[in-house]
Amino acid sequence: MSALLQTMGAADRRLLPEGRLAGPMPWVIAIMMFLTVLAAAAGLGLGGAAASLGAGLGNRVTVQILEPNPDRREAEAARAVARLQALPEVASVRRLAPAEMAELLEPWLGPGGLEGDLPIPAMIDAQLIPGARADSIRPALTSAAPSARIDDNAQWLAPLGRLISALKWLALGLVALMIAATAATVVLAARAALDTHRATIEVLHLMGATDIQVARLFQRRIALDALFGGVVGFAAAALALLLIGRRIGALGSDLLGSANLPATGWLALALLPVLGVGLAMLVARATILRALGRML
């Protein structure tokens, strides 16, 4: 890459006329970069959400003790907690306190809804070790608490996880398509630039210029155009992502919140314009050298 970024003397740079090389190319690259950064951010965010879903919720079970008699329910709940804590498949166990239950049910029962004699099941939240399944703890649990019902979070989260995973791969596919479209844009721009400056190239060839020398002239100009387009596109996309992030934050959703980009995600996005410049230079170089090879 350092060879490609080799600086040129001011006099060499003047061999091509000043100004933009291929008209709207920087703006086309800016639009491509804008869409690429958005798609990549979506892919990274969805990847984070999928990981968070799997690690935070997908490996948990919720145990309900459905015994209607309050005394027996308490006894079963205590036995269930003790049995779960003893199982090797269980990483942690937490029984929801009455205050938490009241808070969860408040939207349906209203304030003070649990103060009457309404039979509310005891709730136990258990975090399983990675790889453990809810079925493996079921026999031990039901022997300790016959009225226990186990809700496997992984079971109802699986379709959502698959959807998020499909969207993530779709986003990454879009990134690949954008990269291919950007490369095609550079090919067209390089060919147009060669046609525009054909007379100058012929003179340079007759003076004994090598194909590499000629290609370097175009390569540098296309890299500058790509850098301009990349920075503009990235800045616009970053602004859009920050605004979307604020909207997501205002929703207060844990799942959507987990789709927010971490610092490493932003770093990966910031590398996209740099990679775009490198890609533009390589594609331009290959296109120009191939076209020059057909000239005398």
């Binding site: 003397g9 003047r14 061999l15 012929e202 060839h205």
Partner: protein, 164 residues
């Protein structure tokens, strides 16, 4: 010849085109400096020779002028200066004196003569036989419809086919 050897070969040849083929967006100085820059000569090393060459062809005061602002004769002199600046082993000139006044034409031919004495082979295509005859060391060959002929019966070094 393999393509990769062409650049080195072309650097040994200077060409003066009838239509000049100057790079339109470059100044007269930059046009003349082009062969040296292509050959990788440092900027500090080419300033002197280029300025000197431009002065020699009478364009020292027009160094920063673009070709479009130069007359036909001035463009031709820039083209000649560009062709000879790198001291080529072979100089091919197509009607190099067609657009200059007789005095400048003689100066240019004397420049070619000097280059020839320094070892450069000069090939000049021209219709001005009178002018070319004034340079004693030139060998004249006449090309008629692609065939070399002797225009005066006094070819000093006729080609082998003509002898046969």
């Amino acid at each position: 010849m393999p393509r990769k050897r062409l650049p080195g070969f072309r650097r040994r040849i200077g060409v003066v085109f009838q239509d000049f083929r100057l790079v339109t967006h470059l100044s007269a100085f930059d046009n003349v400096a082009l062969p040296l820059r292509v050959a990788g000569v440092d900027e500090k090393d080419l300033q002197g020779p280029v300025s000197e060459m431009l002065a020699w062809v009478g364009l020292g005061h027009r160094a920063s002028a673009r070709p479009a602002t130069l007359s036909g004769g001035e463009q031709q002199r820039v083209a000649i200066a560009r062709a000879v600046i790198a001291r080529p082993e072979l100089l091919v000139a197509d009607e190099p004196t067609g657009n200059v006044d007789p005095e400048m034409a003689k100066r240019l031919l004397h420049l070619f003569d000097s280059l020839n004495k320094l070892g450069t082979t000069i090939v000049v295509a021209t219709h001005d036989l009178h002018l070319i005859s004034s340079i004693g060391s030139f060998e004249m060959l006449r090309l008629d419809r692609g065939t070399l002929l002797d225009p005066t019966g006094a070819l000093r070094h006729p080609p082998r086919r003509a002898e046969a």
